[in-house]
């Protein structure tokens, strides 16, 4: 009983491993270059990276408006 359920489970593991072994992969150098390129392309639009000034970042505004 436990034997056959073990087999079923093992077969699923082997099936999964076969699937994972067969996927297409690229070299780390290429993948890393593309990650870097994405960073560079979007760097200027990243407020936390470029440090947006107080006047444009709603969270940095020190003064709170009040109605008189």
């Amino acid at each position: 009983m436990s034997g056959s359920s073990n087999i079923v489970a093992m077969k699923k593991i082997v099936q999964q491993l076969r699937f994972e072994a067969n996927i297409n992969r690229v070299k780390v150098s290429q993948a890393a270059a593309e990650l870097q390129q994405f960073c560079m392309q979007n760097a200027l639009q990243d407020p936390l990276l470029t440090g947006v000034s107080s006047s444009t970042n709603p969270f940095r505004t020190q003064k709170l408006c009040s109605f008189v």
Binding site: M10, E20, K27, S29, A32, L35, F38, P47
Partner: protein
């Protein structure tokens, strides 16, 4: 041969799915089960008597184990072949980042106990947070006003999420469910009355997220599974089996990159799943302890993870391997929560030593350490437009940093 079938050795293949767990209770689905709930170490092998009667199954198991070992080795070899360089080497020519000045700009006070989870609304100013005391609060982060509050019937509300429309929130925890509360414009209306129970797990809910619309929710649970639900009917649309222990976190791929999501668990694995078929398409196991948080890189080609092993790591999906580790000898407490800045250049990590470390994703170095919380940082998310990030802590507060 009979002797080998009854040996006590648990091969790596079997141990990979045996229960190495933190607080695992309840049942795994039959698919992932090798051990029964109550079996101890002595019951993982066929006793000699049974082995004598069941020669066929034990031979097949031995063959399968051998094949799984061979495949695992092949997987490692394939991955290693493409490991021609490190990410930080590729990034050597990139300008180093300057000094960062990030401060707490808002402190949200109001929870009566540990803040466990938070999420931003798409309007970039509202935040939903949940706490150990069973309260779920919706805040306006600009003004720090509380807009809604719901008391859940359970304590330890470990997961909460804002609906894409901004009109509802989802939450759950020790009640093993994920419930959706429509947000009413009428402040006096009792939100609990309109509550809709969507997801049902057999153990605690650890994370939840709406998909692209208010119509579907993805959940992860201490029962070792993830699941996709239809909000309106509460129907289970797809379930995801493969983790060998509690699943602690999940993140959906950015919508442009298709229907996948990543999950992390107490089995130290991060799995990438196809939402339509339920299949695990990639799996990564390099962390040395529970994975508390996973987050996709903004391009969708990679994801980061934070773990109790005190490291954060970056995994590239096309290279199918870990490409960076963010760690320091001085950091010895687990990372509970991670998120990227908009360009993916910065990785923010909330840690159990009360700090937030900011990492240069490309160079692998730490660029800032932020102090302020007076207890563990349990949750951290960057705002939808990237102007700020919010952290929640066991010190009962949330802080917005910019």
């Amino acid at each position: 041969m009979l002797g080998r079938a009854s040996s006590c050795d648990v091969t790596p293949a079997a141990s990979a799915v045996s229960c190495v767990i933190r607080s695992f209770r309840g049942s795994l689905s039959p698919v992932g089960k090798i051990n029964n709930n109550n079996s101890g170490p002595g019951e993982r092998y066929l006793p000699r008597k049974m082995a004598a009667q069941e020669v066929q199954p034990s031979e097949t198991i031995a063959k399968l184990k051998l094949e799984s070992e061979t495949l695992k080795t092949k997987l490692e070899e394939e991955r290693a072949k493409l490991h021609d360089v490190e990410l930080h080497q590729v990034a050597e020519k990139v300008e180093p980042l300057g000094q960062f000045v990030m401060k707490t700009r808002r402190t949200l006070k109001g929870h009566g106990n540990k803040v466990l989870c938070m999420d931003w609304c798409k309007d970039k100013r509202r935040i939903v947070s949940s706490s150990q005391d069973g309260k779920v609060i919706v805040w306006d982060a600009f003004t720090t006003n509380k807009e809604h509050a719901v008391t859940m019937p359970c304590t330890w509300v470990m997961a909460c999420a804002y609906a894409p429309s901004g009109c509802a929130v989802a939450c759950g925890g020790l009640d093993n469910k994920c419930s959706v509360y429509p947000l009413s414009l009428d402040k006096n209306e009792n939100l609990a009355a309109k509550k809709k129970s969507v997801a049902m797990h057999t153990n605690y809910l650890s994370a939840c997220s709406f998909t692209n619309s208010d119509m579907q929710i993805l959940t992860s649970s201490g029962d070792g599974t993830c699941a996709l639900w239809d909000v309106e009917s509460g129907q289970l649309l797809q379930s995801f089996h493969g983790h060998a222990a509690d699943v602690l976190c999940l993140d959906l791929a950015p919508s442009e990159t298709g229907n996948t999501f990543v999950s992390g668990g107490c089995d130290k694995k991060a799995n990438v799943w196809d939402m339509r078929t339920g299949q695990c398409i990639q799996s990564f196991e390099t962390h040395e302890s529970d994975i508390n948080s996973v987050r996709y890189y903004p391009s969708g080609d990679a994801f980061a993870s934070g773990s109790d092993d005190a490291t954060c790591r970056l995994y590239d999906l096309r290279a199918d391997r870990e490409v960076a580790i963010y760690s320091k000898e001085s950091i010895i407490f687990g990372a509970s929560s991670v998120d990227f800045s908009l360009s993916g250049r910065l990785l923010f990590g909330g840690y159990n030593d009360y700090t937030i470390n900011v990492w240069d994703v490309l160079k692998g170095t730490r660029v800032a350490i932020l102090f302020g919380h007076e207890n563990r940082v349990s949750t951290l998310r960057v705002s939808p437009d990237g102007t700020a990030f919010c952290s929640g802590s066991w010190d009962h507060t949330l802080r917005v940093w910019a």
